[in-house]
């Protein structure tokens, strides 16, 4: 255990915690987390993980910051307009915590590159805004047995679950992307900005718990909340033996990119 005096102070409130302690902080500092999508969910997640001292944070996003993002994507600021999101985020992380090694991928994640990118990380956070990518992340993580946190938000609602090898995956619950007409059209879509903050920080918390090895992850259950009434519920489920990707006789054996229009919600 080799903390500098500055680190001892910086992380003292972690170290004080009985369940974290120096050992837990060391685990965090040795951890590698990949955030896919540096938008509404990725922003708060990246901030908290950086603050916590996660050793390596990977950021992947192909977009640039535009004005509509700033209502909720809090890692980006007005001077960042037209800057690549990953660069913008990297700058903030480095200012917040120089201990963190930030690796950026300024591109879209696809069936071609996903395995190569996620394989070196301990944990993946899905902060994407469209169903095809969410299923792609799920399938890739199941294929190479990589734990990840799924998250989704819309209007005043959010949902999240955590996959770890051997437990239910996203496809166990949702067989595949919804039909096109079931996806909200752009005019129907909207999001209260702070909802992204609530969900992204839950995802960051799952990543930290996983790195430290404490508590119960959101495995085999989905946390669903409705912020209008402020109701939080968890729905339990089990691994589906007939799941096309993680079931006993899987039918999906390779990764594909599914086409789907998406509104830029996150």
């Amino acid at each position: 255990m080799d903390f500098s005096e500055e680190q001892i102070e910086r992380y003292s409130r972690h170290i004080i915690l009985a369940d974290v302690g120096p050992e837990g902080q060391e685990a965090i500092m040795n951890g590698k987390v990949l955030i896919i999508g540096v938008g509404g969910l990725g922003s708060p997640a990246a901030f908290y993980l950086a603050a916590a001292g996660v050793g390596t944070i990977g950021l992947i996003d192909g977009d640039i910051v535009d004005l509509t993002n700033l209502q909720r994507q809090i890692i980006h600021t007005t001077p960042d307009l037209n800057k690549a999101k990953v660069i913008s985020a990297k700058e903030k992380i480095e200012k917040l915590n120089p201990d963190v090694n930030t690796i950026v991928y300024q591109k879209l994640i696809t069936s071609e590159n996903i395995i190569e990118i996620i394989k070196d990380y301990d944990f993946v956070i899905d902060g994407t805004d469209n169903f095809p990518t969410k299923f792609l992340i799920n399938d890739a993580c199941v294929f190479i047995q990589k734990p990840f946190s799924h998250g989704g938000i819309l209007r005043f609602d959010g949902q999240t679950m955590t996959y770890t090898p051997g437990n239910a995956c996203y496809r166990c619950v949702f067989n595949g992307p919804p039909p096109k007409d079931a996806v909200p059209s752009c005019s129907q879509a909207g999001i209260l900005g702070s909802i992204a903050g609530i969900l992204g920080t839950i995802q960051a918390t799952e990543a930290l718990k996983y790195l430290i090895g404490i508590g119960d992850l959101l495995t085999n259950r989905m946390l669903i909340f409705d912020a209008l009434n402020m109701n939080f519920n968890t729905v339990k489920f089990k691994r589906n033996m007939d799941c096309p990707v993680c079931g006993d006789k899987p039918t999906i054996k390779e990764l594909i990119d599914e086409e789907q229009a998406a509104c830029d919600l996150n």
């Binding site: 255990m1 903390f3 001892i8 102070e9 003292s12 170290i15 004080i16 009985a18 302690g21 120096p22 050992e23």
Partner: protein, 778 residues
């Protein structure tokens, strides 16, 4: 018969140099001992008195050599020669200077003591009747000797983690205890080829074990490969740090049989592929003896009875073996000389030492049995007595052994006397093995006995000598089984008990094939019923005899004992108090009556105070001595925190004190004592550096020697706690951390927070305006 290695001469000279250096004070006792013991030279219980153990491979010695041993002993003022249970000879009661002369003389006689002790390849045993037994598979003697020749010429045979015992049995009855040795061979023939069934990891010692079968059949050409591989396995994986867990079998306890076998095969295969280890067997040819003796005939009843008891027919026509018994295996050197000179007339191959510490004289033509009888009769060694009386085996016991609890030899003599004066049909019990050990270590081989005893401490208000009765061992390939504890008996009544149980057995033995079988069917019951008769031990005032061991002139006590490696008797005593503490704590949970609780708490203080006194050689005679002894031996030397002094003093001074208010302190005391006990090693030492053992209390360091010390004065809350946590994270469980903290908020908060996380605050002391806090990591 074995060949002395070329290196031996030089090693003896080197030993001589070390004696000089030791006596000149140039090397210390420990260093000298580390050379002396592997040379086969032990210090006896009496300081500055030594014995020299002579290797007798396969239990063989020639009459010429035997004569020389007697002469060497006599020349060096060592009157006593002893036969060991590993078929060797020992010259006893030797002064240190003389040991060197003895080694030189032995060398000239073709005998060596190297490997008699220490972490070495010990004497290699063989069936006492190898080469002559009617039912043997083949003669294993040449193999035992050839293996000895190989091993004693290899330097790494003297630097093993612990002793390494090897034995050869000529038939599946396994009368050389192959299954109870580190490495054991039992002769077999498969498809017309000679070989051995091979056992590994057996032992009769503490944590005894029947060996595992390593090979069901290994051809004779392989035994040197096997032995070498086992030796390497032992050398590589044996525990060299803790000698109490160092024997080969502990590798099995630690890694499990499959893994150890795997490691063995790896080494074995490698040796077989890469090395050529020739193993030549020389069948030693002994010259034919032209008997010049005139046969003496004794057509008497006594002679016939003796023949039945002590004479065994050999496979060779007209030849017989004669057992010459010695009580405790002891022979006066003059008598030994006489015997050697007599035996010499029958040739070179006439002597084997038995594991029952007797001489087996072999190859005696039938016409000379009368001469032998006549000769032995004059020696007055009890050859007119039933064999059983002469085949009782005991270890040396606590009169000369530093480890013993009870005086096994005294008990054996008494049992012998008791059995002898009665009219038991002892000749029917010829095959019975009765063995006695003074402590749970099985030097008296009680674990291989039909009926065995080992010493323990009995306790009522005082201590008295007692024995655990073990019985039912089975020896033999495929069926070996260790004797199991059946009951307990005080030492005083042991002889009478032995007589009674043999009486009962002799009326019932016709129904059973063996004592073990009898034991299973009804022996256990019989023993327990008999023990009930002897269960109550009279109070000291009524009969003091029960408090003296057999052959002792002082009251039974453990003072001066237990500083050796086995202290089982002491552990018995400690357990009494520890169990009391636990029992009382349990009772307190279930009672609300305040006066009962107070009494129980007082009892806990008492037991906690008394529990470890025995380890300091203190035997209190009254309660005051218990408390005062505890304060002096444990609190004042900082083995136990001074925080507990008050409560012990209250218990001493005022039994009616309201102990309930101090329950936490009392429990803390009990825990501290038990933890101290847990940290005690088998030689009853606590984990204290040597310099702490000095008498001067002012120099004694605290028992809890911190592994890490940190000064967090001037560090504010909660950073002092954060740093303490980080320090603890770098330590191992049980390690001690000392931190210095400021008075006020830091001392009010940090110890409590540390405790909340499961660590233990051993103590906190105020020094000027700051605090020292001693923390034990959970």
């Amino acid at each position: 018969m074995y060949k002395l290695p070329e290196t031996l001469k030089g090693e003896i000279d080197q030993y001589g140099t070390l004696i000089d250096k030791y006596q000149a004070g140039e090397i210390d006792l420990v260093k000298f001992k580390s050379v002396r013991v592997p040379m086969g030279i032990y210090e006896q219980r009496k300081d500055e008195t030594y014995m020299v153990r002579i290797r007798c491979a396969a239990g063989y010695i020639s009459p010429v050599q035997l004569k020389q041993v007697a002469l060497i002993a006599r020349k060096n003022d060592a009157s006593l020669v002893h036969i060991t249970t590993r078929q060797e000879l020992q010259i006893q009661n030797v002064e240190l200077d003389k040991t060197l002369l003895i080694l030189h003389d032995l060398y000239d006689t073709g005998l060596a003591s190297r490997g008699g002790g220490g972490n070495t390849v010990r004497n290699i045993m063989a069936s006492v009747d190898a080469g002559v037994a009617l039912d043997e598979v083949f003669d294993v003697t040449p193999y035992a000797v050839a293996l000895t020749n190989k091993l004693i010429a290899e330097p790494d045979s003297w630097t093993l983690p612990r002793k390494f015992k090897i034995s050869f049995s000529g038939h599946e009855k396994d009368n050389a205890y192959a299954a109870f040795n580190d490495l054991g061979f039992i002769a077999r023939i498969k498809n017309g080829k000679r070989g051995f069934k091979v056992y590994i990891g057996g032992s009769l010692g503490a944590k005894a074990l029947v060996g595992h079968v390593l090979f069901d059949f290994a051809p004779v050409d392989d035994i040197y490969y096997i032995t070498d591989a086992v030796k390497q396995l032992f050398s590589r994986y044996g525990n060299r740090r803790n000698k109490h867990k160092a024997r080969l079998r502990f590798i099995f306890y630690k890694l499990g049989k499959e893994k150890v076998f795997g490691l063995f095969y790896t080494i074995f295969n490698e040796i077989k592929q890469t090395r050529d280890l020739p193993f030549e067997i020389e069948k030693q040819e002994f010259p034919k003896v032209a008997q010049k003796l005139k046969p003496e005939l004794f057509p008497s009843q006594e002679f016939e009875t003796w023949k039945k008891r002590y004479v065994i027919r050999q496979m060779q026509d007209n030849l017989f073996s004669v057992i010459i018994p010695f009580e405790h295996g002891n022979i006066d050197c003059n008598q030994l000389l006489e015997i050697a000179e007599f035996i010499e007339q029958f040739g070179d191959d006439v002597i084997r030492f038995s594991m029952r510490q007797n001489i087996h004289l072999r190859n005696i033509p039938s016409q000379y049995l009368g001469n032998v009888y006549n000769f032995l009769n004059k020696l007055d060694i009890g050859i007119d007595e039933p064999f059983l009386l002469n085949s009782l085996v005991s270890c040396t016991g606590s009169d000369t052994c530093r480890l013993g609890i009870c005086m096994a030899k005294g008990a054996l003599s008494r049992i012998r006397k008791e059995l002898g004066k009665n009219h038991l049909p002892l000749d029917n019990l010829n095959n019975l093995n009765i063995n006695i050990s003074g402590c749970p270590n099985s030097c008296g081989q009680h674990k291989a006995a039909d009926l065995g005893f080992y010493g323990k401490v009995g306790r009522n208000d005082r201590m008295y000598p007692a024995y655990v009765i073990v019985a039912g061992a089975v020896v033999g390939d495929n069926e070996s089984k260790l004797a199991e504890p059946v009951d307990e008996i005080n030492a005083r009544d042991l002889p009478e008990f032995t007589l009674d149980i043999l009486k009962i057995y002799s009326t019932r033995m016709h129904k059973y094939n063996s004592f073990a079988e009898y034991l299973d069917v009804r022996g256990r019951n019989d023993i327990s019923e008999l023990c009930d008769k002897f269960r109550s031990v009279p109070d000291w005032v009524d009969d003091k005899n029960y408090y003296f061991d057999w052959g002792a002139d002082q009251i039974f006590s453990l003072v001066g004992k237990g500083i050796g490696e086995c202290s089982a008797g002491i552990f018995d005593m400690i357990d009494v108090d520890m169990n009391t503490i636990r029992k009382y704590q349990d009772e307190i949970k279930h009672t609300k009556d305040i006066s009962t609780i107070n009494e129980l708490l007082y009892g806990i203080v008492f037991s906690a105070s008394r529990m470890l006194l025995v380890t300091r050689g203190v035997e209190p005679k009254n309660t005051n001595e218990v408390f005062d002894g505890f304060i002096k031996q444990f609190i004042e030397v900082n083995l136990i925190s001074n925080d507990y002094r008050k409560i012990v003093e209250f218990a001493r001074d005022d039994k009616s004190f309201n102990f309930k208010d101090e329950k936490d302190t009392i429990y803390g005391l009990a825990t501290a004592v038990i933890e101290l006990y847990d940290g005690m090693d088998d030689s009853l030492q606590f984990d204290i550096p040597d310099d702490v053992k000095q008498k001067d209390i002012s120099k004694i360091k605290p028992f809890y020697e911190p592994v890490l010390k940190k000064d967090y004065r001037g560090v504010v809350c909660p950073m002092n706690f954060v740093k303490t946590k980080i320090d603890l994270a770098t330590l191992k469980s049980g390690d001690i951390l000392e931190v210095l903290l400021d008075d006020g908020e830091p001392i009010d908060n940090v110890p409590g927070s540390v405790k909340m996380e499961g660590h233990k605050i051993i103590k906190q002391n105020k020094i000027d305006n700051y605090w020292s806090v001693i923390i034990e990591k959970r």
